[in-house]
């Protein structure tokens, strides 16, 4: 059983929801990221998404766009990120995921990428510009090396939900609303309809992301599924606090975990 499945199984047993925070690797530098990841895990994060900076992140709003820029300016590369994951793995056995654009994998070499994921301990990879139909780009290599490509569904997926959700591994990433990443003050998605369809077909846990900016929202959204993903709101703190972001991020993550813990409902089927 991989770390992702193990984690969600444990959460289910405890009747808990997952909190999945995101940070951009190398923002403002990799030393800071290397401190942020364990600090977030210590503060209650269940899985961590590590963003690989890309020059042209088309699925991101301004906050993560700027973080990507800062990370590239600080000289962050994929090889250095793998080095960091390798060191983090000496300290933690919690699931670590990379969130990145397909070109970064393609150009690095899909086989080499997946083999380094396995070697350093990356459990899964989220690739927002690789839709279900193009999954063949990495599926073979990912399977060979035990890396889980996380599938995504969106409120615009409609009849596609069955196809995507039924074959998802690890967990299903449910995009909360149309648009790019970034904080939203309100959501217009019909969540009960959307998650109703998702829950009908998904055989794995579901986590919701995009636009969740505070513990209250995290709790509300997590109530529809098995966990909440929070990115821009955390990256915003890193933007403000820079190298000293660890305490503020940890305390925010703690409040988010409290938010999802207070969420009604329990893990799937249980």
């Amino acid at each position: 059983m991989n770390r992702i499945d193990r984690k969600f199984a444990a959460l289910k047993e405890q009747g808990e929801k997952a909190l999945i925070p995101f940070v951009t690797a190398g923002d403002p530098d990799l030393e800071t990221t290397e401190k942020l990841v364990p600090a977030m895990l210590g503060a209650g994060a269940d899985l961590v998404e590590i963003g690989v900076p890309f020059s042209d992140p088309v699925a991101e709003g301004p906050v993560i766009q700027k973080a990507s820029r800062r990370a590239l300016d600080s000289g962050t590369t994929l090889v250095k990120i793998f080095g960091m994951v390798r060191r983090l793995r000496e300290k933690t056995d919690e699931p670590l995921l990379l969130m990145m654009y397909l070109n970064s994998i393609f150009r690095f070499g899909t086989e080499r990428f997946c083999s380094l994921c396995e070697e350093t301990g990356v459990d899964g990879v989220i690739v927002p510009d690789m839709p279900y139909e193009e999954r063949g780009e990495i599926q073979g290599a990912a399977d060979r090396h035990g890396v889980v490509p996380i599938r995504m569904v969106a409120p615009t997926s409609h009849e596609r939900i069955q196809m995507i959700a039924s074959s998802a591994k690890g967990f299903l990433y449910c995009v909360s609303s149309t648009g790019v990443t970034g904080m939203r003050s309100r959501f217009t998605t019909d969540f009960s309809g959307f998650f109703g369809a998702v829950r009908k077909y998904a055989k794995v846990p579901c986590a919701v992301g995009f636009g969740i900016s505070n513990p209250e929202q995290a709790g509300k959204m997590a109530a529809y599924c098995d966990g909440a993903i929070v990115g821009s709101a955390i990256v915003k703190i890193v933007e403000r606090e820079g190298r000293n972001a660890v305490p503020a991020v940890a305390s925010f993550v703690r409040s988010l975990k409290a938010g999802v813990t207070g969420a009604p409902g329990s893990a799937p089927n249980g």
Binding site: F54, S55, D56, V58, A59, G61, P62, Q65, L72, T77, L78, Y101, L102, N103, S104, I105, F106, R107, F108, P128, D129, M130, P131, Y132, E133, E134, E137, M152, V153, A154, P155, T156, S157, H158, R160, I164, V175, T178, G179, V180
Partner: protein
């Protein structure tokens, strides 16, 4: 059989899940309306009565005599309404948007030619229009910015990244993902996720079809060579497509080499690029070893793009078309040359094709025919070329 939307290994649909149903809807709508006689008739009427098609095929007598080789014809896309080939695609896509029930269109623009064309079509069809344009390009092409506003479009400056065409595409894709139900993304070149490269090519292929029939009438034969500039590749694909099966017709694309392909300042994607996945497609891109998209440079804001349409990538790979780099200096010389020689001021983009043709024509026989696609007119570039040459122009108060 080749999978739909693939050109060899190139092409595909690499967009976020949020947009997948939108690209599929577009595929379905295009499939339906491209065969609909009423749709086709309306597009023909717009081409003829609004865009001023067919565009002329002009025999460049003085240029032919001066270069001393092939007989040179100019395909005058610069005479289209709005001054460039861009209107061909825009009229087709706006009809499609209208049939699909969309109320708002968005578009990216580099030099502003596609933005102007999109704003024009939106005005004719009474649709809301927002154009995304890099802030650096807005500076270089302020006349076109004003033109778009005059046409009733909202122009949104894009500051992220390099503030040029690729960043405008990024921002347009972000807007599309945010407003996918109401909005039609009117892509201006043969790029992006399937079905865009096919749709844009189909709406531009009228250029090559006209070249064939006009030349047949004048010379009773096919051309020997067609030269067009390539940024994303729409005017070149439009000129080439009809002749791809005609193996005797040499197809040449002129890429922007900026300060030279051995410097960091160029946009010669085919000459210097490598395979990648970006802006919805697998194609050739200028990128570093980490897959970060590189800043590109050209004097021409319309060619200043780090990628190329997937069908061009395949034509280059199979050798069916050749792509040659043309520097800023060569393009500016060609811009001046065509102005003096034929009384035609070409767009600086099209001047890249003229420059490539000036190299090729003298090596061809006098009984051979070379067609240059003059994709746009150069009024928009006059001020920046004057600046390039150190000529100071007085701005009226």
């Amino acid at each position: 059989m080749q999978k739909a939307g693939r050109y060899g290994e190139f092409g595909g649909q690499y967009v976020p899940e949020t947009l997948m149903n939108a690209v599929h809807e577009l595929e379905t709508a295009y499939e339906k309306y491209s065969r609909d006689p009423e749709f086709r008739a309306e597009l023909r009427r717009l081409y003829r009565g609004y865009a001023n098609r067919p565009s002329m095929l002009y025999y460049a007598k003085r240029m032919t005599e001066d270069l001393g080789g092939a007989k040179i014809y100019l395909k005058r896309e610069d005479l289209n309404h709005t001054g460039a080939h861009k209107i061909n695609n825009v009229l087709g896509q706006i009809l499609l948007a209208q049939r699909m029930g969309k109320k708002r269109i968005i578009a990216e623009t580099g030099a502003g030619q596609h933005g102007v064309a999109a704003a024009t079509a939106a005005a004719v069809f009474g649709m809301e229009c927002e154009i995304f344009m890099g802030v650096k390009d807005m500076e270089r092409q302020s006349l076109n910015v004003y033109r778009m506003k005059l046409l009733g479009a909202k122009v949104t400056g894009v500051e992220s990244g390099t503030g040029t065409l690729k960043d405008a595409v990024n921002e347009a894709m972000r807007d599309w993902a945010s407003n996918v139900e109401s909005t039609y993304y009117l892509i201006g070149s043969t790029m992006g996720p399937h079905p865009y490269p096919m749709i844009v090519r189909d709406f531009q292929k009228v250029i090559g079809q006209e070249i064939r029939s006009q030349l047949e009438e004048r010379e009773g034969r096919l051309p020997d060579c067609i030269v067009a500039c390539v940024g994303g590749g729409s005017n070149a694909m439009g000129a080439f497509y009809e002749f791809i099966p005609e193996k005797s017709v040499r197809l040449v694309g002129a890429e922007a080499a900026g300060k030279g392909v051995d410097t960091a300042l160029h946009a010669a994607t085919i000459t210097k690029g490598s395979t990648g996945i970006f802006h919805g497609m697998k194609s050739l891109f200028l990128q570093n070893d980490e897959g970060q998209i590189m800043p590109v440079y050209s004097i021409s804001a319309g060619l200043d793009y780090p990628g190329i349409g997937p069908e061009h990538a395949q034509l280059a790979k199979t050798g069916r078309a050749q792509y040659v780099p043309v520097t800023d200096e060569e393009a500016v010389r060609a811009f001046e040359y065509l102005s003096r020689m034929e009384g035609i001021i070409p767009a600086i983009e099209s001047a890249h094709a003229v420059a490539a043709a000036m190299r090729i024509a003298p090596e061809m026989r006098r009984d051979q025919i070379l067609v240059i696609n003059i994709s746009g007119r150069g009024d928009k570039d006059v001020a920046s070329i004057a600046k390039y040459r150190g000529v100071k122009l007085n701005e009226p108060d």
